[in-house]
């Protein structure tokens, strides 16, 4: 598999060729000098002598340049303007269009305030900006790579037909794949298996995450299986056996251990869908949207990565009775319920289905329910 050192499009504007992530880091570090890679704060005005040396001009020219090319030449000299107010007679088409749009908004919207989804989105994007760790050993080094991944939810609702919801995670090049795996929160991990209509108080503490620890990532023909615990099985074996059984046109699928690899070791395509599978059949599509060098304004605390910067807001299903609390139980074939399946919160569930002594009333099957919106 040809790995180009410099990533470029394989399919124009869609995805790139495969390349080794670590090679990108090397490529950039070779091209840039210390001031570009540095994570220190912005440098103040540099001396004329430094400018003259860098540009190969006379120091007098350097001083002239500083005056002529200063940003003040582009900014207004008069008193502070209010950036919220668009000037009346602007020559810019952008502003004229924007003004009309804003005027339309003012006429139609009664209360112009950020809804909670917007607040959440903004907060998630920006909460970690500029953070620094307390412990300097946790400080991220210069030249570290930052990958941005979109992990799609496996939840299939009709309304998500066109735009599948996803969460966006930022991860460092030097982090292990297992760290990403641990950070992915999926509702299927929290499922509790079993029917508990006869013993509602004994819903077990063990969730699926504890029972079924196997998982794998699939990147560019290699399955990275989680083998940290003895219970972990190689889920990818089935696939590899299937592909090897006949000549299906898939070359060389390999299976390796997830915990042995960091992101810098991987060969990836940007913009190309890959797979994360856990719980045996819960599959998430993963797309790497961006890889870049770490920057002074990013969060530099290693412990906060993988960092969740965006997640989709899923409306939780409420109890059918009180319509207030999130559903915790779901019943099937319930003679007491108006529909099949029917959702209840804990309190309403017990009040309806059990008498004062805790005896089961009527026939039904009850399962603990974990709503996908639980991560909101």
């Amino acid at each position: 598999m040809a790995e180009a050192a410099v990533p470029d499009y394989e399919s124009a504007e869609q995805y790139t060729r495969a390349f080794r992530v670590g090679a990108l880091g090397l490529g950039w570090r070779r091209q840039l000098g210390p001031p570009d890679l540095s994570l220190a704060a912005e440098e103040a005005e540099d001396a004329d002598a430094a400018v003259a040396a860098a540009l190969g001009c006379a120091p007098g020219t350097a001083a002239e340049l500083r005056a002529v090319c200063s940003i003040d030449m582009l900014m207004p000299s008069e008193k502070e303007e209010d950036p919220d107010v668009i000037p009346e007679d602007s020559s810019l088409l952008t502003l004229r269009i924007r003004k009309k749009a804003l005027e339309r908004r003012e006429e139609t919207i009664i209360v112009d305030r950020a809804c909670r989804q917007e607040t959440l989105t903004y907060e998630m994007e920006s909460h970690a900006t500029g953070k620094r760790p307390d412990n300097t050993t946790d400080l991220i080094e210069e030249g570290e790579l930052l990958l941005t991944l979109n992990i799609f939810y496996p939840v299939i609702f009709q309304k998500h037909k066109d735009h599948k919801p996803y969460q966006t995670v930022r991860v460092l090049g030097s982090q292990k794949l297992t760290e990403l795996r641990d950070s992915i929160s999926c509702v299927s991990d929290l499922q509790i298996g079993g029917e508990f209509s006869s013993q509602p108080d004994q819903a077990p503490e063990h969730i699926s995450k504890d029972h079924y620890k196997s998982a794998f990532f699939y990147f560019e023909g290699i399955f990275y299986n989680d083998k940290r615990y003895p219970e972990c099985r190689d889920l990818s074996r089935t696939i590899i056996e299937w592909s090897e059984s006949h000549d299906r046109g898939y070359e060389n699928l390999q299976s390796v251990k997830m915990e042995d690899y960091v992101f810098n070791d991987l060969a990836l395509k940007i913009g190309f869908p890959y797979l994360y599978c856990h719980q045996g059949d819960c599959e998430h599509i993963i797309i790497i949207t961006d890889i870049r060098l770490i920057h002074h304004d990013d969060c530099l605390d290693r412990n906060l990565y993988p960092l969740l910067v965006k997640k989709h807001w899923l409306c939780t299903r409420k109890c059918f009775v009180c319509k207030m609390y999130t559903a915790r139980w779901v019943t099937n074939r319930d003679s007491l319920a108006p529909g099949d399946p029917c959702f209840f919160c804990d309190v309403c569930f017990r009040m309806l289905h059990y008498d004062a002594e805790g005896n089961k009333l009527g026939e039904f099957l009850a399962y603990p329910y974990v709503d996908p919106g639980i991560f909101n």
């Binding site: 950039w28 400018v51 001009c57 952008t94």
Partner: protein
């Protein structure tokens, strides 16, 4: 990412004015910027999330003009534009300019060009942007999310901003010509050495046209001139009326071609598709010509193929432009080939 409405027009207007000013001095750019009060492009009541997105898109648009295939002056203008936009933005912390690894060598070359030509103001500004850490050094210029593109955004950036497509010139550079000359001389000398008469090569050894290097140089120059003329004609086409253009074309036709050529041109003008077909059929004819004259000297065929190969390229490229301009500009783009043997 959907575009910011009106932004492309504003940027192109500013860069166009900078191009007209025919200078690369920052002072001139600053004047144009201040005239338009371009720093207000971020104004408008909006919340932080929207403002971040808007600024990101603005910088992304301006960054595209900074890279090839745009002409040197436009790239310098784009650099100034980026400087202005980066500093005028209202986001906190500032949105950065994305640079992909594949584009970095171009930028390095650009920087060296600036230093060589002593455009210190541009070099200083590039330096300032770097020191201000205005760049994100990325793998690819845009975020790639595998979105199936429902509408393919054709970035019809202005032709004027582009450098004229110098494929011929990039192939036949001065160095190449010089080397060819040297090899040619060396070859002649070798022939003399092995011939009976030391002062000139044997008649039996004359297998190539002696002056083919000179011919090559002349043809390349001619091509360059033709390109420049076409560029000028394109400019004047935009400014004058249609009727005037038709007249210009006719005069152009008459001056350049023989009768047969002008008849051909008239056919081409009448329908676009015919034009393409003609060129394709010409290409087939061209192949026949070469093969039908096996004994012809090698010097002749490269020049012929170079001349006629120009033709199929231009209609294809022109194909990207809008329909309104299509027939006109494509027609202007088509040089009338003066047949050498007819």
């Amino acid at each position: 990412m959907s575009a910011v409405p009106g932004l492309k027009e504003d940027c192109e207007e500013l860069l166009g004015a900078f191009l007209q000013a025919d200078t690369v001095r920052f002072e001139r750019f600053a004047e144009l910027w201040r005239e338009r009060r371009f720093h207000t492009v971020f104004y408008g009541k909006m919340r932080a999330l929207q403002r971040n997105k808007l600024t990101e898109k603005t910088l992304d648009l301006a960054q595209q003009y900074f890279l090839p295939p745009y002409s040197f002056q436009i790239r310098v203008g784009a650099l100034y534009l980026l400087y202005g936009l980066y500093n005028a933005q209202l986001c906190q912390p500032k949105q950065k300019i994305r640079i992909a690894l594949k584009d970095w060598p171009e930028i390095q070359k650009f920087h060296l060009d600036l230093l060589d030509s002593q455009h210190y103001d541009a070099a200083y500004i590039l330096r300032r942007l770097r020191l201000a850490r205005a760049f994100h050094f990325t793998a690819m210029p845009k975020l790639l999310t595998y979105r199936s593109k429902k509408k393919i955004e054709e970035n019809n950036f202005k032709e004027e901003f582009r450098d004229p497509c110098n494929r011929v010139n990039s192939l036949i550079t001065n160095d190449v010509l010089e080397e060819l000359m040297n090899i040619h001389d060396h070859y002649q000398k070798m022939k003399c050495v092995i011939s009976a008469d030391k002062s000139q090569p044997d008649k039996a050894l004359s297998l190539i046209k002696d002056d083919f290097v000179v011919n090559l140089k002349d043809i390349t120059l001619e091509h360059q001139e033709w390109q420049q003329n076409r560029g000028k004609l394109l400019q004047s086409v935009k400014e004058t009326d249609e009727t005037e253009n038709k007249k210009k074309e006719e005069t152009l036709l008459k001056s350049e071609g023989s009768e047969r050529a002008s008849a051909l041109a008239r056919i081409k003008y009448r329908s676009y598709s015919a034009a393409v077909e003609v060129s394709k059929s010409r290409r087939h004819r061209q192949v026949q010509l070469e093969s039908s004259k096996p004994g012809s000297s090698c010097g002749k065929s490269p020049s012929r193929s170079k001349k006629t190969s120009r033709e199929p390229q231009s209609p294809r490229r022109r194909g990207e432009m809008q329909v309104a301009k299509e027939t006109l500009t494509r027609h202007i783009g088509m040089p009338i080939i003066t047949e050498e043997d007819s």
